[in-house]
């Protein structure tokens, strides 16, 4: 009985750490498209009896598109030297890791501006490495008051597609 009680209390207050991640941005231009990848995000999910809090952050500088000039232009456009981190945070349900489809209302802090972000479908999957959480969302440059980079005087599309692949481990 005592064991069961202790076990249930422990599972209620479980914490999770981001062990591996791949965050990709995809930007479109009439001339060509480009992808930038970061594997340097860090994150945690801290749970109490009442709620769980998600926090994931990645340095803007860590995104690499394979082209040095584009990366520096991206850093300049996003004011990355002034606001070096992109941060995703918010509350998630206690039932998050119970293998169901969730809709999350989070906040994204990017380029010095915090906007609400709704993840329509997210479904954590248990694997041998931990919990795998993959999701994607569109990001509007205009909503973050960012000037769209241009080539041949034509700006890139306003909507950037962000894809997140992550693995989370339960803290022991």
């Amino acid at each position: 009985m005592v064991y069961l009680l202790l076990f249930s209390l422990q599972s209620l207050a479980a914490n999770y750490t981001l062990s591996t991640s791949e965050i990709t941005y995809n930007v479109e231009h009439i001339a060509h498209s480009a992808q930038g990848l970061s594997k340097e995000a860090k994150g945690k999910i801290t749970c109490t009896k009442e709620k769980c809090k998600l926090l994931v952050a990645a340095p803007i500088k860590s995104f690499s598109s394979g082209d040095s000039n584009r990366d520096h232009h991206m850093l300049e456009t996003t004011k990355g030297a002034l606001n070096p981190m992109v941060v995703l945070k918010g509350e998630i349900p206690k039932t998050f890791f119970q293998g169901r489809l969730h809709k999350l209302n989070l906040k994204l802090l990017f380029a010095g501006k915090e906007n609400p972000l709704v993840i329509e479908e997210i479904n954590p999957k248990k694997s041998t490495k931990g919990y795998e959480i993959d999701f994607n969302f569109p990001l509007s440059l205009t909503e973050y008051e960012l000037e769209r980079p241009a080539l041949l005087m034509v700006p890139v599309s306003d909507e950037i597609k962000i894809t997140v692949k992550s693995t989370w481990e339960e803290e022991k």
């Binding site: 930007v27 040095s68 004011k79 030297a81 606001n83 981190m85 080539l151």
Partner: protein
């Protein structure tokens, strides 16, 4: 007529150069108020340090931002002047050799425009630990080809011009003037085609 064309071309070029130089010099873009993560928001700072990010990573760096803005502004000018130079290069190539004076004038104007284009690339500030990669690396490699070409082509052209003026047959490096010009043009156009945003 040719003198007039030359004057018009030089006027256009000097206007573009002056305008773009002024733009680059005045790269004081208005900066809107920013939430400086590491300075104004203690909660955010605590959160980020709890994730294991050092202050070096999370601190804002206004000097670096200013450098990046100047760099972007200068490279954008480099891009616009590149189009002007490509237009002039095309015109030089298409001018028949029978119209030697116009060809010469266009050649000189191209060289001036090329110099202005190169200036904005060479003197754009470079961030610390910058290493060219991807299309940028190829853009730079091609710059070596058209850079050398832009030195050789006018030299060969001058020799050719002098031989023609003296009524001598075209010999030696003078024969290579068209080859050098076409190679330079191809490398320059290629460098422009692989530009990225």
């Amino acid at each position: 007529m040719q003198r007039k064309i030359c004057q018009i071309l030089i006027c256009i070029l000097s206007f573009v150069s002056t305008h773009t130089i002024a733009q680059a010099g005045l790269s004081t873009k208005k900066t809107r108020p920013l939430y400086l993560l590491a300075q104004n928001n203690n909660q955010a700072e605590d959160d980020l340090s709890s994730l294991g990010f050092s202050k070096e990573v999370t601190d804002s760096n206004p000097e670096e931002q200013a450098l990046l803005e100047t760099r972007s502004s200068m490279l954008q000018t480099h891009q616009y002047l590149g189009f002007v130079t490509l237009g002039l290069m095309t015109a030089s190539l298409l001018t028949p050799e029978s119209n030697l004076d116009l060809h010469k004038i266009l050649g000189i104007t191209t060289a001036v425009s090329y110099g202005a284009t190169a200036y904005f690339s060479i003197f754009a500030p470079t961030p610390k630990d910058f290493e060219s990669s991807g299309r940028t690396a190829w853009h730079k490699r091609l710059a070596w080809v058209h850079g050398i070409g832009m030195v050789l082509t006018p030299v060969f052209g001058l020799v050719r011009y002098n031989q023609k003026e003296a009524g001598k047959p075209i010999t030696g490096v003078a024969k290579l003037h068209p080859v050098a010009a076409i190679t330079t043009y191809a490398a320059f156009a290629g460098a422009m085609a692989i530009m990225t945003f």
